[in-house]
C-alpha cells in the first residue's frame, strides 16, 4: 500500500512536470495578451514530431533532438503569431477561439497525413530506460529524468522572469499592459518573445511526452483539456500557480487512474468544473 502510494506520487509528480512544460507558456501569454490560444498543444505536437523524425529517420540521439524540439515549437509559434494571431488581439474571445480551433483541426489532419494516425515512438537512450530501486520502491529512470529536467526548467524560468530585464518587462506587461506601454516598454516584442518561448517549452514537453503517453495526431485535442485545466486552476500569468496546478493535476490524475480506473476522465473534468465555479480566476490568479 505504502509502496503503491509512493509510486503514484512519484509517477504523478513526473507527469505533472510534463503538464507544466506543456502549459506554462499558455499561462504566461494568456496573462499578457488575454489571447485564448487553444492551439497551444499543436505547438507541442510539432516539437514531438520533430523529435520522432530526427530519431527515426536521421538517427539522432534522443537527447540531442530535445533542443530541436524546442526550436521547432518556438519557430511555429512565432510564425503563427506574426501571420495570424497578431491581427486578432483586439477581437472577441469567440474569434480567437475559432481561429485557434481551426489551427488545431488543420494540424491534426496535417500530421495524420504526414505520419499516419498511428502511435509514434522515439526511443530514449539505454541508460534512461531502466529502473532504480530506492528504499524498496521501484522508480522508472525516465520519470526521474523528467522530474529533474522539469525542476531545472522551472528554476531557469523563474530566474529569467525575476532576475533579468526581459523578465521585468514581461511581468510589467502581465500586470498592466497599458501602463507598461506608457512607460515605453515594447509590449508587442516582449509578447512575441514570450510566445515563442512558451511554444518552445510546449514543443519540449511534446518531445518528452512521447515516452510517457505516446504521440499521435489527436495529441493536440486530447491534451488541450489538461493544459486548460492547469491554466484555469493556476491562474493566468503565474508560473508558481501553473507549477502547483500541474503537480496537483498530475498526481490526482495518476491516483484516479490507479485507484478508480472505472471513472475514466470523469473525475478530472469534475475537478475542473468545480474549481472553475469556485474560483473562476484560478487558485492563484490575481484577476
Amino acid at each position: 500500500m505504502l509502496s503503491s502510494l509512493a509510486t503514484v506520487l512519484f509517477d504523478g509528480f513526473a507527469y505533472g512536470m510534463l503538464l507544466f512544460l506543456l502549459s506554462v507558456g499558455l499561462s504566461v501569454t494568456l496573462g499578457m495578451m488575454n489571447f485564448v490560444n487553444l492551439a497551444h498543444c499543436s505547438f507541442a505536437m510539432v516539437g514531438g514530431y520533430a523529435t520522432v523524425t530526427l530519431v527515426n529517420s536521421f538517427g539522432w540521439p534522443f537527447l540531442a533532438t530535445l533542443p530541436m524540439a524546442f526550436l521547432a515549437g518556438g519557430f511555429i509559434s512565432i510564425l503563427l503569431e506574426r501571420t495570424l494571431y497578431r491581427h486578432l488581439y483586439r477581437s472577441s474571445d469567440l474569434d480567437q477561439c475559432l481561429l485557434t480551433i481551426g489551427i488545431v483541426f488543420v494540424s491534426v489532419a496535417a500530421f495524420a497525413w504526414l505520419y499516419t494516425s498511428e502511435q509514434q515512438s522515439a526511443r530514449p537512450p539505454e541508460w534512461l530506460r531502466g529502473r532504480i530501486e530506492l528504499f524498496g520502491v521501484n522508480f522508472a529512470t525516465y520519470r526521474l529524468f523528467l522530474i529533474v529536467f522539469g525542476l531545472a526548467v522551472t528554476a531557469m524560468l523563474v530566474l529569467l522572469l525575476e532576475r533579468t530585464r526581459f523578465g521585468a518587462k514581461v511581468r510589467a506587461a502581465v500586470d498592466n499592459q497599458r501602463m507598461a506601454r506608457g512607460l515605453g516598454i515594447d509590449v508587442d516584442r516582449a509578447f512575441m518573445l514570450t510566445f515563442a518561448l512558451g511554444g518552445g517549452l510546449a514543443g519540449l514537453g511534446g518531445a518528452l511526452a512521447i515516452e510517457v503517453v505516446g504521440l499521435d495526431p489527436t495529441f493536440a485535442l486530447a491534451y488541450l483539456v489538461y493544459v486548460l485545466i492547469v491554466v484555469a486552476v493556476g491562474g493566468l500569468g503565474s508560473i508558481g500557480g501553473s507549477f502547483a496546478a500541474a503537480v496537483v493535476l498530475g498526481i490526482s490524475d495518476m491516483a484516479g487512474k490507479y485507484y478508480f480506473p472505472w471513472l475514466g476522465a470523469f473525475l478530472i473534468y469534475l475537478v475542473m468544473v468545480a474549481l472553475l465555479m469556485w474560483r473562476p480566476a484560478g487558485l492563484f490568479g490575481k484577476r
Binding site: V36, I101, I103, F105
Partner: protein, 320 residues
C-alpha cells in the same frame, strides 16, 4: 410608444426572400428524392445551429459544449422509444422538457461567468456529460450506442428508408421552431438580449434584469437543441455516444460561424453548405475533412467576420 410598436411590427413582417427560401425547402421532395435522408439531416443540423444562434449570436454566450443539450434530447427520446412509448411527438415533448430542465439547471452556472472561464466551463460541462454517458453504459449503451430504439408511426406514416416522412417531419419541426425563434428575436425580450450582448454592464444599469434574461434565453436554446436531438433519434432509430461529443459542439459552432451568427438564417445556410459539402467529400477520410474545416474557420475569422450572410448583406443594404 407608438414608434416602438411600429419598429417591432416592421421587423416581424415577412419579406419575399424569406417566403421564397421556405418554398425552396420543399424542393428536395420533387427535385432530389434520393437525397431526402440527407435533407432531413440538414434540417436537424440547421435546427441545432438555430438554437446555438439564440445564445451565441443574440445573447453573446460563447459555448463549446452545446452538444450537451442535443445529447440529452437524443437520449431521452431514445430511452422513451426503447422502453415505453414509440410515438415520435411524445418523444419530442419529453426531449424538450428534459433538455429544458438540464438547460435551466446549467444556465444558473453559465450566466455568472464570461470570457475564458465561460468557454472552459461550457467545454468542461460538455465533456463531463459525455464521460458520464460513456460510464453509465447500463443506461446509455456506452460506446456501442443505444440499441433497439423502435420509433412508431407519425400520423400513420412510417419512417422508411427513403426518408420522405423523416424529411417532412424534420422540416415541419424546424419551421415551427424557426417561427418561435423569429418571434422571440423580434420581441422586446430579443432586443434586450442584443443589448446585453453589446454592453453587459449598461443593460442592468438601465433596469434590465440581465441574468434572468440570459437564463431564459439559455433555457429556450437548450429546449430547441433537445428537440433537434430527438429528431435525430427518430429519423435514424439509434443514438450513439457521438451526440454528446466535443466534435458535435465544434461542428455546430463552425456551421453557425460559417453562415453568420446573429442572423436567423445564418445557421440554416451554414448547415446546408456544410452538410452538402461533407456529403460530396464523404469519399475522403474524415480526418482530412477536418483539415478543410480548420482552414475554412481560419479564413472566415480572418476575412469574413460575419459569415457568409454577413458578407452578402454588404451588397444588399437593408431598406430603411
Amino acid at each position: 410608444m407608438e414608434s416602438a410598436n411600429r419598429h417591432f411590427s416592421e421587423k416581424v413582417r415577412w419579406r419575399w426572400l424569406e417566403v421564397a427560401f421556405w418554398l425552396c425547402t420543399l424542393l428536395p421532395f420533387v427535385v432530389t428524392p434520393s437525397y431526402l435522408s440527407l435533407a432531413s439531416q440538414i434540417a436537424i443540423t440547421a435546427l441545432f445551429a438555430l438554437s446555438l444562434d439564440l445564445i451565441l449570436g443574440y445573447a453573446g454566450i460563447v459555448s463549446l459544449g452545446h452538444a450537451a443539450f442535443f445529447g440529452v434530447g437524443a437520449y431521452s427520446a431514445g430511452l422513451l422509444a426503447k422502453h415505453y412509448w414509440g410515438e415520435p411527438l411524445a418523444g419530442l415533448v419529453v426531449a424538450a422538457v428534459a433538455a429544458g430542465i438540464a438547460g435551466y439547471a446549467m444556465s444558473h452556472i453559465v450566466v455568472r461567468f464570461r470570457h475564458l472561464a465561460l468557454i472552459m466551463l461550457t467545454l468542461g460541462l460538455g465533456l463531463l456529460l459525455h464521460e458520464a454517458a460513456n460510464s453509465a453504459s447500463g443506461l446509455t449503451g456506452g460506446a456501442d450506442g443505444l440499441q433497439g430504439v423502435r420509433v412508431g408511426t407519425l400520423f400513420g406514416f412510417k419512417f422508411d428508408m427513403f426518408g420522405r416522412t423523416a424529411y417532412a417531419y424534420s422540416l415541419a419541426v424546424l419551421f415551427v421552431c424557426f417561427l418561435v425563434s423569429r418571434r422571440i428575436i423580434h420581441s422586446p425580450f430579443g432586443l434586450a438580449l442584443r443589448g446585453i450582448r453589446e454592453n453587459a454592464t449598461r443593460m442592468p444599469a438601465i433596469g434590465a434584469p440581465s441574468r434572468a434574461h440570459l437564463r431564459k434565453a439559455y433555457t429556450i436554446a437548450a429546449v430547441i437543441a433537445g428537440i433537434a436531438g430527438a429528431l435525430l433519434t427518430h429519423t435514424t432509430s439509434t443514438v450513439s455516444l457521438e451526440v454528446l461529443s466535443f466534435q458535435r459542439s465544434a461542428d455546430v459552432l463552425v456551421i453557425l460561424i460559417l453562415g453568420g451568427a446573429g442572423r436567423l438564417y445564418g445557421g440554416i445556410i451554414g448547415a446546408v453548405i456544410y452538410m452538402v459539402a461533407r456529403d460530396q467529400f464523404s469519399g475522403i477520410n474524415p480526418q482530412f475533412w477536418y483539415f478543410w474545416i480548420g482552414l475554412l474557420l481560419v479564413m472566415v475569422v480572418m476575412f469574413l467576420p460575419n459569415g457568409i450572410l454577413g458578407g452578402l448583406s454588404r451588397f444588399f443594404p437593408p431598406k430603411t
